[in-house]
């Protein structure tokens, strides 16, 4: 393995860790923040028929979880290509 390739892999991994940290921060804020720690505060706000904190606890967080994974998929597929570590087309 050449030095150049190793360098490339390291850059790829750093960027990956960076994505993970940002996405997991959102994950944490939505579920543990909005739905648990600040739920009573957010409950003072009413949107539609829901108290906001209650909505995050029972529905909103789940929608955002799904979104997070698809954002991650998109980001990583682009990153794989850019750093030339993506997989060949399957047989």
């Amino acid at each position: 393995m050449t030095v150049n390739q190793n360098e490339k892999k390291r850059a790829y991994w750093r960027k990956n860790l960076h994505y993970l940290a940002s996405l997991l921060a959102v994950w944490f804020i939505v579920s543990y923040g909005c739905a648990i720690l600040f739920v009573d505060f957010l409950d003072q706000i009413k949107i539609g028929g829901f108290r906001l904190g209650f909505w995050f606890a029972q529905q909103g967080s789940i929608f955002i979880f799904v979104l997070l994974i698809f954002v991650y998929v998109k980001l990583m597929n682009r990153l794989d290509k850019r750093h030339d570590v993506d997989e060949e087309e399957p047989r």
Binding site: W27, F63, V66
Partner: protein
């Protein structure tokens, strides 16, 4: 047609479908048996994973639990979905690149240690058996209530079906049957939810009807009505929590991390052809799970409102049939404490102990006599939480075919999960123990036979526990998640994200994590259940949430021990480098050593 006739039709049709799919997708190699030849498309795998993950507990019990817990029910809603984010981001792509059949394979190879592998195998088998017993029980409940067969025969029929397609088809058969089962179960969950949402709020989408106004002309919000009813009867407000914040936090975290560490979920990501497919397949899995999980809180609120409206202060003589039918199963009981012939349903436990005990003969209104009514409260009604989803269509007076459909959906949920778990058990025994530990020279054909025999034996043991459930099934579920959170999750995450982590660190971390978590749960659940209250819990964390402390301990011990001992060999560090990049992932395979 009657409910029973419709149930026979729906269940019969769905079973015929599963058997057809199973015959069409038989397995012929160990690769196909364990991981479906790593050829499953991401959307298909996502759907199968969703069916695998959503058990009888998700389908039958969860909405019922939420409808009694109110906002605190979010621990299950978030706990059982948020774990997929961890799974997609931290585990699935790397384990897929690693490309073996099982979780113990990864733990054993990454930590170059047979001891670590054996610990992982034992945990995997324990966790899976805990789960599978509960599924068989769910099958029994559905059969006994809707088809009037004994729980025993119900379990035997369920065993027969699972045996047929798990043993024949392995992972390949299971994956494609699970796709069919997902379709049945989601249809069966959404149809009644949509009908009830339309009836109660005029909104066709239950997720929105949940926050909508009632269709009875009062212009009141559903949740406001529910809060009002709850307040009048002395229950806590539906949209308020009654658990301590730290406990909600820890239970949610333990369930999330536990989900990400469960072997039967992780193994699903070995079945897709590529790393990129493993990532998107986790996304699809959560999408399909979210369809049910965002409907569940709506169902819970509808069911609760309906229940309070239908039974409170109503005369037993005029009560609807579903009430009396469930009373016959013993999952619902009424003790006319003040002898007014009406059902008083208020806060407080109606009975002494956990379950009602019925005496002979009938009471003044024709009800079954309850011998252990609790004289200290005025509440007269006992409702088992497990019946809410099954009874909901009847409570809302939906047509009979929908009731039959729900029964078929409950069976689909229980059978699909049971099959996935049985596969983990059979893989653990035939592959991790027999092939990797006891007889490495065994041929592929022999291994396949061993895997089928192991699956067959596992079905029988699971069936036994389904017929004779140990009283502690519910309690051991806390165990399954706690142990997965405190053992597998840290070991796998550090195996991927730290090149420096060595076997001494990982093994000592797993042992400390498991011992601590198991010790805490055993103490409060089995040795001193009388002390199982917030006053005695450490930091106010219940046994259900303690796995998260176990996980933190595991991380701390692993990092400390690993820093004090020699780094792992170079080839292991290269292995870690290798799984971090997607290129070069082939079909999951045997090591060529």
């Amino acid at each position: 047609m009657t409910v029973q006739a419709w149930t026979f039709v729906m269940v019969g049709l769905s079973f015929a479908l599963y058997i057809g799919v199973a015959v069409w997708s038989r397995a012929s190699s160990t690769g196909e048996f364990y991981v479906a030849g790593s050829s499953v498309r991401p959307v298909v795998n996502g759907m199968a994973t969703a069916a695998d993950w959503m058990s009888a507990a998700s389908f039958i019990s969860m909405a019922g639990l939420i409808s009694f817990m109110g906002r605190d029910g979010s621990v299950y809603l978030m706990g059982w979905t948020g774990g997929y984010v961890l799974l997609a981001l931290l585990l699935a792509p790397y384990l897929r690149k690693f490309g073996k059949f099982t979780v113990p394979d990864f733990v054993g190879d990454r930590y170059y240690s047979r001891a670590a592998r054996v610990v992982a195998v034992i945990c995997a088998i324990f966790v899976s058996f805990t789960y599978v017993a509960g599924q068989m029980r769910g099958v029994g409940i559905v059969f006994s209530r809707f088809l009037n067969v004994e729980i025993t025969s119900g379990v035997l029929i369920g065993m027969g079906i699972v045996f047929f397609y798990a043993v024949l088809g392995g992972m390949k058969g299971i994956t494609y049957t699970q796709v069919a089962q997902y379709c049945v179960l989601i249809f069966a969950y959404l149809v009644p939810a949509i009908f009830i949402s339309l009836l109660m709020t005029g909104n066709i989408i239950p997720q929105l009807g949940f926050g909508g106004t009632l269709a009875d002309g009062s212009g009141q919000l559903l949740l406001d009505r529910l809060n009002g009813l709850s307040r009048d009867l002395g229950f806590h407000l539906y949209t308020d929590g009654s658990k301590a914040t730290i406990d909600v936090f820890c239970i949610t975290a333990a369930l999330m991390v536990g989900t990400a560490g469960l072997p039967h979920v992780i193994v699903r990501f070995y079945t897709v052809p590529r790393v990129a497919a493993a990532r998107s397949s986790a996304g699809w899995a959560l999408f399909f799970i979210a369809l049910l999980y965002t409907t569940a809180p709506a169902v819970a609120a509808f069911a609760r409102t309906n229940l309070l409206n239908t039974v409170s202060e109503k005369s037993y003589l005029g009560i609807p049939d579903w009430f009396k039918n469930w009373e016959e199963t013993g999952l619902l009981a009424w003790a006319d404490k003040n002898s007014d012939g009406k059902v008083q349903y208020v806060a407080g436990s109606a009975i002494d102990g956990n379950k009602p005990i019925f005496g002979d003969g009938r009471g003044a209104s024709g009800e079954r006599i309850v011998t252990n009514a609790n004289p200290d409260t005025t509440n007269e009604l006992y409702v088992d939480r497990d019946i809410m989803v099954l009874a909901n269509p009847e409570i809302a007076k939906l047509p009979n075919w929908i009731v039959g459909l729900v029964a078929a959906g409950g069976l689909a949920a229980a059978l699909s999960t049971a099959a996935g778990l049985l596969l983990v058990i059979s893989t653990s025994i035939a592959h991790d123990l027999l092939k990797r530990e006891i007889r490495p020279r065994i041929s592929e054909k022999e291994e396949l036979i061993a895997a089928r025999i192991a699956a067959g034996v596992a079905v029988c043991i699971a069936g036994y526990f389904g017929i004779n459930p140990p009283g502690f099934v519910g309690q051991v579920v806390a165990f399954a998640f706690g142990l997965a959170a405190a053992s597998f999750f840290p070991a796998i995450v550090m195996g991927i994200f730290s090149k420096r982590m060595n076997k001494f660190g990982a093994i000592s971390g797993m042992i400390v994590g498991i011992t601590f978590t198991a010790g805490y749960i055993i103490f409060f659940k089995f040795i001193r259940p009388d002390m199982n209250s917030p006053d005695h819990w450490w930091f106010g964390i219940s046994p259900e949430g303690i796995g998260i402390l176990g996980m933190i301990l595991n991380f701390m011990v692993s990092i400390t021990v690993s820093a004090l001992t020699p780094p792992p060999p170079t080839e292991i560090q290269e292995l870690v480098e290798d799984i971090r990049v997607p290129r070069g992932a082939g079909e999951a395979r045997e090591l060529s050593v």
